[in-house]
Amino acid sequence: MSAAVNPTAFAGISIGTGVGSVTDWLRRITVRIAGSRNSHGSGILWSSEGLIVTNAHVASSSEHEIELSDGRKLQGWLLARDPKIDLAAIVITANNLSAASVRGARTMRVGEIVLAVGNPFDGVGAVSTGIVHQPVGRLPWLVADIRLAPGNSGGPLSDSQGNVIGVNSMIVGGLGWAVTSDSVNAFLRRERLTEVT
């Protein structure tokens, strides 16, 4: 892929390939979760053994059909769900999966580039880019200036290197709100799901 890049090209082109390669990686750890009434949400492969993290409002029933980026469709079982922080954990029977590399959301600086991958509308693995809007404070949210759509729910928000910093959850005032990676880890510890990872 790098051979295709003109070495004398503008920096802008290598930024474009940067977005492209981070997106390729994020697509591998993003799953499509079939919901009720033909709607779709997204989820994040949190462990190579099939632990998936998504939003509680995406995982509304005990079983969901999960579609991996390679096209495999598997049965997913709800393990835990906390509507208060809009998180849910699902497990599929698979192993040797690509899994998210996680970065603490509190380490993000205001203005850092973020990427979201999800399945908005009919798009599969669609990417959008933005920046961190404000520092992560006491709340379990990372707010980003990024354009999200409903199918982004449950999908990853990452830094410029593809490290997951949050779970895209909602749009407020034109800004994207993601549950922080820190609160995902706290949720998994509370639900005693960390040993699965």
């Binding site: 920096a11 940067g18 580039i113 961190v132 809007h133 404000q134 520092p135 404070g137 200036d145 593809g162």
Partner: protein, 300 residues
């Protein structure tokens, strides 16, 4: 592979951090607080409409400390208010906004109380020459942005990717961002500090545009197709003292034909206060020349 994306990400975060040392929060501004930009070490500007009627406000400085600030000048025309702060902080680095380019990445930066900085990013979507606010004040350059405004952004800076201030952000119609460019802010700040206010010109006449029928143009021997009919003359105004009468029709101002009331706005800019303006007037079917000294709008 993505190292240039990482560098780009870091440079945007650096720009926010750099200008952030000159961005303050104005707690009483707007509904949930607004932002301000340190134009000098002890002097900040903010969006005037957000602190209307207040003489003192509470600010949160870049170091997180709260302080009282005096509203030492305000110009509703350009939506700029000047705050004097007892404690000194670093002034913002100002850009020459005439060097701004279409497509350039820009950031709107604000401060939310003690929660820290907030930012959104976008691009300059169009540039243009001078324009006027609906109050008639001159803004020296148009910077139209494609940028998502956020709660409390007003009064904060619009900066380029190096963190240099291109202007002050304020809110426009339909959730748009209006940029008061750096050169205009500096001009208004200087006037506010020198005189405590930005003078606006005043003639003391009320006018309405009228069209000349062909017969009137022939009788007058003029190409002018319209003029401004004087319908009120304020008592004691410079127009009255110079002899402007009800029913006069102003046809040219300083030699230029007038088309609408907007044609007179440049005459009313603050630098013209005290200067003479020359009118060509149709009175009783004949051309008359009159000179009027531009006064200062009362209560401005």
């Amino acid at each position: 592979m993505s190292s240039s994306l990482v560098e780009f990400s870091n440079s945007i975060a650096d720009a926010v951090e750099r200008v952030g040392t000159s961005v303050i929060a104005v707690l009483e501004g707007g509904r949930e607080g607004v932002s301000g930009t340190l134009w000098r070490e002890d002097l900040a500007v903010t969006a005037e409409h957000t602190i209307r009627g207040q003489n003192e406000v509470t600010v949160v400085l870049p170091n997180g400390e709260e302080s009282k600030a005096n509203v030492s000048g305000r110009d509703p025309g350009t939506d700029i208010a000047v705050l004097t702060i007892a404690q000194k902080s670093g002034a913002a680095s100002l850009a020459d906004e005439s060097q701004a380019r279409i497509g350039e990445i820009v950031l709107s930066v604000g401060r939310r109380g003690t929660d820290g900085l907030a930012t959104t990013y976008g691009v300059i979507s169009a540039l243009g020459g001078p324009w006027r606010t609906w109050q008639g004040a001159r803004i020296d350059r148009l910077l139209r942005l494609d940028l998502n405004p956020f709660t409390g952004f007003s009064g904060g800076p619009i900066v380029n990717a190096r963190g240099e201030v291109l202007g002050i952000a304020t809110s426009g119609p339909r959730r748009s961002v209006v940029t008061i460019p750096t050169s205009t802010v500096t001009r208004v700040v200087d006037q506010l500090l020198q005189r405590g206010r930005v003078a606006r010109g005043y003639l003391g006449v009320g006018m309405q545009p009228v069209a000349f029928p062909d017969s009137a143009r022939q009788a007058l021997g003029t190409n002018a197709d319209r003029g401004l009919l004087v319908v009120t003359v304020a008592s004691g105004s410079s127009a009255e003292q110079s002899g402007v009468l009800l029913g006069d029709i102003i046809v040219t101002v300083n030699g230029s034909p007038v088309h609408s009331l907007r044609s007179l706005q440049p005459v009313l800019d603050s630098e013209n206060v005290g200067k003479q303006v020359h009118f060509e007037i149709v009175r009783g079917g004949k051309f008359v020349k009159l000179s009027v000294t531009v006064g200062e709008r009362p209560g401005s």
